[in-house]
């Protein structure tokens, strides 16, 4: 229910002075930069600039950090489209069709579509958050470790079954990824699979592994290519085509709406949300499309589906932070630190007592979405010039950036070594038709899947019937089975009915 008094107070907070807005443009630009450079993360940008918020009031600090978040979430799609390198784990599905579009010379359109879908996603996400912050927080409270484990397994199965080659190989890849994700010190207090290396005690660094598997392995395959876009006529950068692509995103209203809903609700699941939401939205769109085989080959609907969901999942994770005080990922964890620096505690009491501030944060994000449109349309034409760089120069540049970024993530040479090892693994996976995205999602979520199952085991006292008492878990597990066998079952039923 909308609290009108707080609503007007929120407008007063935002518009009585220009001060809160002064930090938004730099925030979006920082986010765009960190999202667009492979290896730099949104959470890293927010952590680096967090000390600056000490000199801001709480409202200004939140606007600055959410602006970095918004810019970074879209920024991650730029390298995904241009180089098949998802800048963040939430942009993995963007690369599925964005990169093939770029290779066909439709890089301008793809970037424009990504920007359009992202901006609509931010608007829709915060719109849903404004209306449903209460129900979303109630839903999040009902999500326990059993549900989180089920969501992770669902995500892995879905992405494995997306594989363009063998579905079986896709699922094997996802499961192997999960195993890699469990390497290191386990929740049970034992060391596994470290081969005596101290660098693996905390597990395989997931983001450097992702950079290696996606980026470096792809660059190895492109060594003999002259340009990212083979056709010289299609290699031009056109602000007009980017703008047309931006408008084209609006021609997919149902995909945008579905992606936004998936983004908010799945994005609200702590830790898992943004990585899985873009995949779920992509798969839902692919399955409902009259030509599902065109996905993965440069279908614009794939970019829309992924970007709508990943930008909306920002609102979902903000719901969890504001309503429950639980950070869903690195970026919201930094925001929680900003809360603490300003002596504010997120949670039901915060929502109840400072509704005006919550509304102000939501409305500020509406404003940020429009600023992102302007800044995106200004900066994408500069960044899109990547297609004009010969591969001879682009390959070593991106490899070097990946190595620097990986060092930035781990703080020691284990990051660059992880990039090296997983670049070879990724190249071998691609060569032998195993699914790289499935393995990456497995690596990202393996540790969390194990923790969730252990907590469920401890809560239930080892009784598997506990799962039967969790309706949400059962629904997710049924969806998992349906996504695996649904189409075959439908085919079987249709054949029987027709015979």
């Amino acid at each position: 229910m909308i609290d009108w008094t707080s609503l007007f107070a929120a407008f007063d907070l935002l518009f009585s002075s220009i001060d809160p807005w002064l930090v938004v443009v730099p925030g979006i630009l920082i986010g765009l930069l960190f999202g667009a450079i492979p290896g730099l993360q949104i959470s890293m940008a927010m952590a680096i600039f967090l000390p600056m918020t000490l000199y801001m009031d709480f409202m200004q600090a939140m606007l600055f950090l959410t602006a970095i978040f918004t810019g970074g979430t879209f920024g991650g799609s730029i390298p995904a489209v241009l180089m098949n390198i998802p800048g963040t784990s939430s942009a993995i599905a963007t690369a599925f069709d964005g990169y093939p579009m770029s290779k066909k010379g439709q890089h301008n359109t793809a970037l424009g579509i990504a920007l359009g879908a992202s901006c609509i996603g931010v608007l829709a996400g915060y719109g849903i958050l404004f209306l449903l912050i209460g129900p979303i927080s109630t839903m999040v409270l009902k999500i326990g470790p059993a549900e989180m484990a089920a969501v992770i397994l669902w995500g892995i199965t879905l992405i494995g079954s997306l594989s363009s080659g063998s579905v079986l190989k896709g699922i094997i890849s996802g499961l192997i990824g999960l195993l890699i994700g469990t390497i290191g010190f386990s929740e049970a207090g034992v060391l596994r699979g470290t081969m005596g290396s101290v660098y693996l005690i905390d597990g395989v660094p997931a983001i450097p592994a992702m950079i290696g598997m996606f980026a470096a392995s792809e660059l190895f395959r492109l060594v003999k290519t002259k340009y990212l876009v083979e056709d010289s006529a299609a290699r031009k950068v056109s602000a007009r085509a980017i703008f047309d692509g931006f408008l084209k995103a609006f021609s997919y209203p149902w995909i945008l709406a579905r992606g936004s809903l998936i983004g908010v609700f799945v994005g609200a699941v702590p830790g898992v949300g943004s990585s899985v939401a873009n995949l779920l939205s992509y798969i839902a769109t692919k399955n409902r499309d009259p030509d599902p085989d065109s996905f993965g080959k440069g279908n614009p609907a794939g970019v829309v589906a992924s970007e709508a969901a990943n930008s909306t999942s920002e609102a979902g994770s903000m719901a969890t932070l504001l309503a429950l005080g639980i950070p869903g990922g690195g970026a919201t964890a930094v925001m929680l630190a900003a809360f603490a620096m300003h002596n504010i505690t997120g949670g039901p009491q915060f929502i109840r007592e400072q509704t005006d501030v919550v509304y102000a944060i939501i409305f500020a994000n509406f404003g940020q979405a429009f600023l992102l449109i302007a800044l995106g349309l200004m900066f994408i034409p500069i960044l899109a010039n990547v297609v004009k760089v010969p591969m001879t120069y682009l390959v070593p540049t991106v490899l070097a950036m990946a190595v620097f970024g990986a060092f930035g993530l781990t703080g020691d040479l284990s990051g660059p070594v992880t990039v090296l090892v997983f670049s070879v693994v990724g190249w071998l996976f691609k060569r032998f038709d195993y699914s790289v995205p499935a393995a990456v999602i497995g690596i990202l979520l393996g540790g969390m899947a194990e923790d969730s199952i252990i907590y469920s085991y401890q809560i239930s006292g080892g009784q598997w019937s506990y799962v039967l008492e969790r309706p949400i878990t059962l629904v997710i597990l049924m969806l998992l089975l349906l996504s695996l066998f649904g189409s075959k079952l439908l085919g079987l039923l249709t054949r029987r009915a027709s015979s």
């Binding site: 730099l40 680096i48 063998s166 079986l168 190989k169 699922i171 094997i172 499961l175 192997i176 999960l178 195993l179 469990t182 390497i183 386990s186 929740e187 049970a188 034992v190 060391l191 596994r192 699979g193 470096a216 190895f220 395959r221 060594v223 003999k224 001879t392 120069y393 390959v395 070593p396 540049t397 490899l399 070097a400 950036m401 190595v403 620097f404 970024g405 060092f407 930035g408 703080g411 040479l413 660059p416 070594v417 990039v419 090296l420 670049s423 070879v424 190249w427 071998l428 060569r431 032998f432 038709d433 899947a449 194990e450 199952i453 252990i454 085991y457 080892g462």
Partner: protein
């Protein structure tokens, strides 16, 4: 035997070998995890997944054995990729001694030369500007020191 059939057979052997390697690695990980602790909390996820992977590998093995594709799948030449992987490996593994500044400069220059760039002014100019530009940017942005040979940090 025709060259296509020979290639197809070679690829099939490679595919089966990859499956065997994956299954072996998974089994080795399982043994290591079991040796570390046979407690249910340690094996609660690892063991079921290992069993699933092994079953799926077995099914895939049978599928690949029975596979009778008319053509071998297109794959890029290993000879094209191997030198690049080798160069990248040398770059990463020598960073500790060469530092990010000089290591990156040598890697970029060697890569350009390997790919046929013979214009010396481009080769030297680009490798120096890229490596020092990246090194300066990251050493300024990151909150911890980076290994460098020329640029001074407290590493």
């Amino acid at each position: 035997m025709s060259s296509t059939a020979e290639k197809k057979n070679k690829y099939r052997v490679a595919d089966l070998a990859v499956l065997l390697v994956l299954a072996s690695l998974v089994v080795l990980y399982g043994i290591d995890a079991y040796r570390a602790s046979s407690d249910v909390l340690n094996l609660i996820l690892v063991l079921p997944i290992i069993v699933m992977v092994l079953v799926l590998c077995l099914v895939q093995f049978v599928i690949e054995l029975r596979d009778d594709r008319a053509e071998a799948p297109p794959r890029e030449s290993v000879a094209d990729v191997a030198p690049v992987i080798g160069l990248f490996a040398v770059y990463v593994l020598t960073l500790q001694w060469l530092g990010f500044d000089i290591g990156t400069m040598l890697f970029v220059a060697a890569f350009l030369w390997l790919q046929g760039e013979r214009r010396w002014h481009w080769l030297i100019g680009y490798s120096i500007s890229l490596s020092f530009g990246l090194a300066l940017f990251f050493s300024t942005m990151l909150p911890y020191p980076m290994p460098m040979l020329i640029l001074q940090t407290a590493y």
